[in-house]
Every structure is written in structure tokens, then in C-alpha cells.
């Protein structure tokens, strides 16, 4: 049985002109169009084209800051593109429509093919054609044996080559390579498998980010995350109970002596995982996540977190926190924000730079010349006024909105910026109190992922690869042997036919004929 193919497949008969169509006829016609090769092809090409815009403009899912920046730079274009969902290309209506149609077409294509193939697997190879002369690899030889001997030998040889064999009169019809179609079907089904896994299991996953400072413990609950993306079916109870403490972060750097460039060599975070009342020590590295009962923790970034202490006019500590400063360059010049809403006469906000190895430039400004804390310096500009923390609107911890604030040090204020080494402190203006750079710690930024689709997608992907290899490289071919008695023995004719791309067919027929002759010779001798 031929593998079932859409009607516009190169191996199918050209379709006959359609008679007048009723409603059912039209439906059938439409369905046949949707599941045709041409539709699959056009949808595949459309999908390729539709994927392009998402690589040209930043995507909300991968690069939300990029989107904000794009909006700032091109406000008008942004409106148009946003209306077209270009910033969410891969979840947009048009992108989804293309791949959903493609998968409808795919499913419509593989279901009948699978049923057909299941039947083909159980049916015998087709009848021997009347004339072999014009088929691939045709050849005729004479052998000193009876028809029965010759056909028995041919049968044995074909079976050895794993052909399925049927006898029709004095001829054998053989076919092999059903695996080709099996592989093709597995390949296409596994494509559905990828989409289905993501569609169903994807909703149960979540991922969240956390900046973790040395000696601090992270507890896996919603409120601990800095940002959190739940799947559609997520609820709080899905968060496993565990905690993680960052014990120490150790980077290793190398200096390229010719260029003077600093190269990171290795990042290593020693952490303690706290679960089920026990503590486990683990090492977290780039490319080496830690698995905590199905939730994985990844090392993505790192930096310094100076501990800042603020005292009021009476010298009482009103604030003491390690503040993660975000790295701005490869020597870890970092930017950070300190917010002290309570305890002082006025609300206090500070924007500061941290330089691990500070060096003054000619202009008087500082720069960092090495990413390790050889000469750590913290500079701060202070602001007073309303920090806006009480109005219930979520605020970015790394940004200070200075619109409603008054600058009191640095800039045009006439008061110098505060510059502190470790352990140093400085008075705040207007007798507000004082600020101290008490201690230097490090932080790491980590991602937590819980993704129940991983296994399903991996298995599907391997089936895709396996199915593909089988379906592209296993030849499906037919072979015929016709025996007719002659005076001296038997005349044997051989020929083959390819089903699909099969460059080796002719050689296979010749090779078979040779082995067959030898086998006959052996049987006759014996």
C-alpha cells in the first residue's frame, strides 16, 4: 500500500476536476485545501516571515526595559507597532493564528495518514507488475536451478534483508522501509507533542527573580520575590517550601596584559539550601543551576551591596541595610538608591555610585579600574521631600523619582557630595543626622524556574530528531523477482521501485541479484 499523501503531493495522482459541489462538498473541499502540501508549505513560510519582526524590536517578555526605551525614543512609531502587537510578536494574534492553522493542518494531515499506515503495516506487498523491463535496475540472468529452488533462495535472501515478501505465481514481490513512513509520522506527531506540552503544562510553571545579599536568607514565597511571573494555572500553594542563604560569592578575574582588559574567569556562589528542616551546602555557578525539588535556581548576575547606616540627629540608628548597587560597566562601577522614609525629620532619598577600585580622574570625578574591592568608595547625593512610598503604588527599588524631592548635597546645591570609604561616616546637611558606609557585602541575582514542560518538550524534541533521521535516510523500496523455467534451468528477472527519495535503489537491486545468484549456487551444490 502506498503511503497516504495529500493530493498535491508529487507522488499523488493529479486530482480530477471537481463536479458541482454541495455544502458538504464545499466543506470537504475546504478541508482538503487546508490539509494540502501547499497550505503546509505556505504556512511554514509565513511563520518564518512572521517571526522576523520580533527580532527587530525588543519584546516585552524578554526585554521589558528595551520596550520602555523604545517607547521613549520613538513615541509615535511605538503606538502603531504596539497596536499591531509587535512588542509581543510571539503571543500576537497573527503569529498565533499562523501556527494554530499550521497545527490544525498538521493534525488533519497525520490522522488519516496514521490510520492508513497502520493498515499498510498489516497488508502484503502489491502484485508484481506485468513487465519489469522498464523499472529501476532491471536485469535478467539465467541460473541452473528449478523455479522453486530459485524462489526459495530469493525468499530467504529478501527476508535476510528484512523485506516483507509475498508470492504471486512464479514471482516474489517484496517491500521494505515501512519505518520511513513511521519515522515521518513520529516526526510530525512529536511537533504536535511540543506544542501540546507547552499549551497544557506551561500554565503550571512560574519563574521569579531575586537579588540575594550575602548572609541573607531567601524564603520561597510570593512576597520574597523581586519580580514574579506565574503561569496561567499557578496558585500560591505550588511554591515549594524552602529557603536559600547566600554564604559567599567569589568571582575570579584575569587581566589581559596586552589590552589591559579585565576578563571574568569564574563566578561561584556558595549557598545553603534550607529544606525539610535540614541545611545543605551547595555551589551555584553560571551554566550550573541547583535543583531544589523541581525548582531550579540559576546564577545570572552579581555585584556589590554596601551596607548603609543612617542615624538621626540624636545618633540613634534609624536605617541599616545592605543596598544592592547595579553594575554599570565591566569594572563594576555601580549605581544604587537608598530610601529612608522614617525616623528622620524629613524623608530621605539618596542616589549613589559605588566604585570597587576607585581612581580620581583629572576632572575630579571617580572611576573604577578593577572589579574587585581594592579601594572601595561610595558617593551619595541626598534628597529630601516626599518619597511617595505611602501612596500604595509599587515603586522600583532601584530608581528614585526626584520630581517631588529637593536635592540637598551634590550638584548645584553648593554642598559637596558625600564620599565615603568603608567604615567612614559623614553628617547629613541641615542637621538631619549622619550616614555611614558600614560594611561591604556582595550580592547575586538569581532566577528561580519551575517548568513542568521540560521533560515533555525534551522527549518530543528527541522524537523529532529520531523520526527525522529515520524518515530521511531509511529507504523505502520495492523489489521484484520473476522466475520462468528454461531448458537449462531458470531465467530470473529483477527490478525495483523507489518510494520517495532513494538514490541507492539501483545498486540495491544489483546487490540483491548477486547475493541471490550466490545463494542459488550454494543450494544447488549442497
Amino acid at each position: 500500500m502506498e503511503p497516504l499523501r495529500p493530493s498535491d503531493h508529487i507522488d499523488s495522482e493529479a486530482p480530477i476536476a471537481q463536479p458541482a459541489l454541495g455544502a458538504v462538498g464545499w466543506l470537504r473541499f475546504a478541508w482538503r485545501q487546508l490539509t494540502s502540501m501547499r497550505t503546509a508549505l505556505v504556512l511554514l513560510l509565513l511563520l518564518a516571515i512572521a517571526a522576523i519582526p520580533g527580532s527587530l524590536v525588543p519584546q516585552r517578555s524578554a526585554d521589558p526595559n528595551g520596550v520602555v526605551q523604545y517607547r521613549r525614543n520613538n513615541p509615535e512609531l511605538f503606538e502603531v507597532l504596539d497596536a499591531l502587537q509587535v512588542f509581543d510578536t510571539y503571543t500576537s494574534v497573527w503569529f498565533s493564528a499562523i501556527y494554530l492553522l499550521l497545527f490544525v493542518s498538521l493534525i488533519g494531515c497525520i490522522i488519516p495518514r496514521t490510520l492508513h499506515h497502520a493498515r499498510a503495516l498489516r497488508s502484503a506487498p502489491p502484485k508484481t507488475p506485468a513487465r519489469l523491463g522498464r523499472l529501476v535496475g532491471y536485469r535478467a540472468t539465467d541460473a541452473p536451478a528449478t523455479v522453486e529452488q530459485a524462489l526459495d533462495a530469493a525468499h530467504a535472501e529478501l527476508r535476510r534483508r528484512r523485506y516483507r515478501v509475498a508470492r504471486y505465481g512464479d514471482s516474489l514481490s517484496a517491500e521494505r522501509g515501512y519505518l520511513r513512513e513511521t519515522g515521518n509520522l513520529i516526526f510530525h506527531m512529536a511537533l504536535v507533542g511540543v506544542l501540546a506540552t507547552i499549551g497544557f503544562a506551561g500554565g503550571f510553571g512560574y519563574n521569579g527573580q531575586k537579588v540575594l545579599v550575602e548572609d541573607r536568607v531567601f524564603v520561597n514565597q510570593l512576597s520574597s520575590y523581586d519580580s514574579f511571573k506565574p503561569g496561567r494555572f499557578f496558585d500560591d500553594t505550588r511554591l515549594d517550601a524552602f529557603g536559600v542563604r547566600l554564604d559567599e560569592f567569589t568571582p575570579e578575574y584575569g587581566l589581559d596584559t596586552t589590552t589591559g582588559r579585565v576578563q571574568p574567569l569564574d563566578f561561584e556562589a556558595a549557598v545553603t539550601v534550607i529544606a525539610n528542616g535540614k541545611e545543605y551546602e551547595r555551589v551555584l555557578k553560571v551554566n550550573e543551576p541547583i535543583d531544589i525539588g523541581g525548582t531550579r535556581m540559576y546564577l545570572l548576575g552579581n555585584g556589590f551591596a554596601p551596607v548603609v547606616t543612617v542615624r538621626n540627629a540624636d545618633g540613634d540608628v534609624v536605617f541599616r541595610e545592605p543596598i544592592p548597587f547595579l553594575p554599570q560597566d565591566s569594572n563594576l562601577t555601580s549605581l544604587g538608591v537608598v530610601k529612608v522614609p522614617d525616623g528622620l525629620r524629613a524623608e530621605l532619598g539618596m542616589i549613589g555610585f559605588f566604585y570597587p577600585s576607585a581612581l580620581p580622574l583629572d576632572s575630579g570625578a571617580l572611576t573604577s579600574i578593577y572589579p574587585e574591592p581594592d579601594q572601595p568608595v561610595l558617593t551619595l547625593n541626598a534628597f529630601t521631600g516626599d518619597l511617595g512610598l505611602d501612596d500604595g503604588v509599587a515603586r522600583n527599588a532601584y530608581a528614585l523619582d526626584t520630581d517631588d524631592l529637593t536635592q540637598v548635597t551634590g550638584g548645584d546645591t553648593g554642598t559637596d557630595s558625600i564620599v565615603l570609604g568603608v567604615g567612614q561616616s559623614a553628617a547629613l546637611p541641615d542637621g538631619l543626622g549622619s550616614v555611614e558606609f558600614s560594611e561591604l557585602r556582595r550580592f547575586v541575582s538569581v532566577d528561580f524556574y519551575h517548568d513542568p514542560t521540560q521533560i515533555g518538550v525534551l522527549v518530543s524534541a528527541l522524537l523529532i530528531l529520531g523520526g527525522l533521521i529515520v524518515s530521511l535516510f531509511v529507504p523505502r523500496r520495492r523489489l521484484w523477482v520473476v522466475a520462468s523455467p528454461t531448458d537449462a534451468g531458470v531465467r530470473l528477472e529483477y527490478a525495483g521501485l523507489a518510494r520517495g527519495d532513494d538514490p541507492g535503489l539501483e545498486a540495491a537491486v544489483y546487490d540483491f541479484a548477486d547475493s541471490h545468484s550466490q545463494r542459488i549456487a550454494r543450494t544447488v551444490e549442497a
Binding site: D11, D63, V136, T258, L468, I469
Partner: protein, 340 residues
């Protein structure tokens, strides 16, 4: 280490020198054989004519099997024992060709030496930045070409492949060169070795496939127009023989590309926590994969086999080049490893 790096560069430049001569000879071969083909045409000998009519004969022979030519329009005429001469025998190829192949091999050994010394000097795999990737991908592309020669005579692609390799080497050494730097933590993974190596293999196969598809288009143009055009084209195998060869090369590339995609996803999971995030580089890997899936379908779709599917293969390979150059250099994304 510095001396090794210097040796490596010397080897690259020497390889480029040898490749240039090979390129000139391959081109000379094509132009001389065009003269030969023209002479043959004038003299009315069968050589060129036979080459053109052969695919038609082959199709007719298989047509009987209801396969509508299937993919069995092969490189060999299959009409019962008619001719023993294979279509891919070099028709009218000149002496230059032999020397050019020998020089390509010599150039390739130098090129390979350059890659190996670079790897030894860096104490890691030599494909961690764009310069190294270009160096390695071209050695694999050229190696694939030479390897394919053991199996099929595709020496008529020599000018295309050596020209392409030469151009790529010129661009990477002058524009993308960077000194050896230690592997950044983000690249310290066994997946770098596998993922990038297989991507280069795929690129090599796609390059040859695209070359064959270009020849196929030239060939079918020439057959259709009857006009003179590029004469050497008449000395090539028939369009459908070129097409089925291109197909076989491209599907190998496609299998490697599929593997690249999967290995990339596994690595992305190790490194960033998610196996797929529509990062620009991921997007383009996907686009290329989809284009070649389209190509494979086109080959099996009535009305698309032939020129149209050849165009898809060429567009697919152009996307590979685009992905390596423009996307690496100008598109923003997580994969910023160009080293520039």
C-alpha cells in the same frame, strides 16, 4: 602561546594564498570547459546535447512506475543498461580542475592547521568568538566539500566554495579578528562544544546545497531559454540531477540544524533557566529551520519542485549567513559573544 597564535595567523594567510590560486584555476576550468562545450556544440558532437537530454530520458524511464519521476530521476540514466556513463562525470573538465582540487586540499590542511594551533594556544575549542567561529565554520565547509568529492564528483562547485571560503576568511581576519581571551563563564559549558560544532557542520552542508541549487537554477534557465548565457552551464549535470543532489546535501544540513536547535535549547536551559525565550539568535535559528522545513515540503509538492524549491534552499542559506553576520553584530540579544 603568542608564537602559536602567530603561527596560526601565518597558516591562515598561507591557506588564503593557496585558496586564491585554487579559485583562479577552478574559474579557469569553468571558462575553458565552456569553450569546449561551445566547440562541441559547433561541431555537432553529442557531448553537450547528451548532457541536456539525459534527465528527460531518465524521467521517462521511471515515469512508468507511476512515481511521476519521484525522486528517482537519479544521477544515473536508468533506461535498461543504456549507458554506463554517469551524469556526474565531469563533462569537458580541464586539467586545471585537478590542480585546483589538489591546491584546495593543500589550502585546507593549512587552514586546519590554523584552527588547531589557535585551539591549542587558547586551551579550549577554537570557536568562542566570531573570528574563531568563522575560521572553524569555513574549515568545516571546505572539508565537507572535499569529503563530498569522495562520494560525488561536484568539482564544478570548486569555484563557488573556494571563492566563498576565501571571501569569508578575508572578512573574518580583517574585520572580526580578536586576540585570545579566556572563556567567559557564560561560555564554559560542554554544550558550547557540541552546539557550535554541529551548527558549523550544518552551515557547511547548507553552503554546498545552496551552491548546487544555484547551479540548478542556471542549468534550468539555460535549458529553458536556448540563449547562449554562461556556457559552462551546459557542461553541468542536468537540472534534476543537481536538484536531487542538492536535496540530499540539504537534508543532512537540516538534520544537523535540528540538532543545533535542540542542543541550543538544552544549553539555554542550563544557562538561563528557560529552554526557549525568543531571543534574537533563537528567533533566527527557528526561522532558518522553518525555511528548510518549507524547502523539504516544496520538494514534495506539485508545482514547487524545481526552481521554486531551489530558491527556498538559497534563501535558507542566505538566512544562515545573515544570522552569523548581521544578527551577531547588530541585533541586541543575550548571545553577545562576537568578542568585538
Amino acid at each position: 602561546m603568542d608564537t602559536l597564535v602567530a603561527y596560526s595567523l601565518v597558516a591562515v594567510y598561507s591557506a588564503m594564498g593557496v585558496y586564491s590560486i585554487a579559485f583562479v584555476l577552478f574559474t579557469l576550468d569553468l571558462s575553458k570547459r565552456s569553450a569546449a562545450a561551445a566547440d562541441a556544440a559547433v561541431a555537432g558532437t553529442a557531448s553537450a546535447a547528451a548532457a541536456t537530454s539525459r534527465p528527460a530520458a531518465a524521467t521517462a524511464a521511471v515515469g512508468v512506475g507511476r512515481s511521476k519521476g519521484g525522486t528517482t530521476t537519479l544521477d544515473r540514466p536508468i533506461a535498461a543498461g543504456a549507458s554506463t556513463r554517469t551524469v556526474d562525470a565531469p563533462i569537458g573538465a580541464t586539467r586545471y580542475q585537478k590542480i585546483a582540487v589538489a591546491l584546495s586540499l593543500l589550502g585546507w590542511l593549512l587552514h586546519l592547521g590554523a584552527v588547531l594551533t589557535r585551539g591549542i594556544a587558547a586551551e579550549r575549542v577554537p570557536w568562542a568568538n566570531m573570528f574563531e567561529f568563522g575560521l572553524t565554520a569555513t574549515v568545516i565547509g571546505m572539508g565537507t566539500f572535499l569529503g563530498v568529492l569522495l562520494w560525488k564528483d561536484v568539482r564544478y562547485l570548486g569555484a563557488y566554495i573556494s571563492g566563498f571560503t576565501l571571501l569569508s576568511l578575508g572578512i573574518v581576519t580583517t574585520n572580526f579578528y580578536v586576540d585570545i581571551v579566556p572563556t567567559p563563564p557564560a561560555l564554559q559549558s560542554a554544550w558550547l562544544v557540541i552546539h557550535v560544532l554541529v551548527a558549523s557542520l550544518a552551515t557547511g552542508f547548507f553552503a554546498i546545497g545552496a551552491g548546487l541549487s544555484i547551479m540548478q537554477l542556471l542549468r534550468s534557465r539555460a535549458a529553458a531559454s536556448k540563449a547562449e548565457g554562461l556556457r559552462f552551464v551546459h557542461t553541468l549535470p542536468g537540472a534534476s540531477a543537481l536538484e536531487s543532489l542538492a536535496y540530499r546535501v540539504n537534508v543532512v544540513g537540516f538534520v544537523f540544524w535540528t540538532f543545533t536547535l535542540i542542543a541550543g535549547a538544552i544549553w539555554a536551559e542550563r544557562a538561563w533557566g528557560r529552554y526557549w525565550g525568543w531571543d534574537t539568535k533563537e528567533v533566527w535559528t527557528f526561522i532558518i529551520w522553518t525555511l528548510f522545513a518549507g524547502y523539504i515540503h516544496a520538494r514534495a509538492t506539485r508545482g514547487w519542485r524545481g526552481d521554486r524549491s531551489a530558491w527556498l534552499a538559497i534563501i535558507g542559506f542566505s538566512a544562515v549567513i545573515f544570522n552569523y553576520t548581521i544578527v551577531n553584530l547588530f541585533f541586541k540579544g543575550l548571545h553577545s559573544y562576537s568578542g568585538l
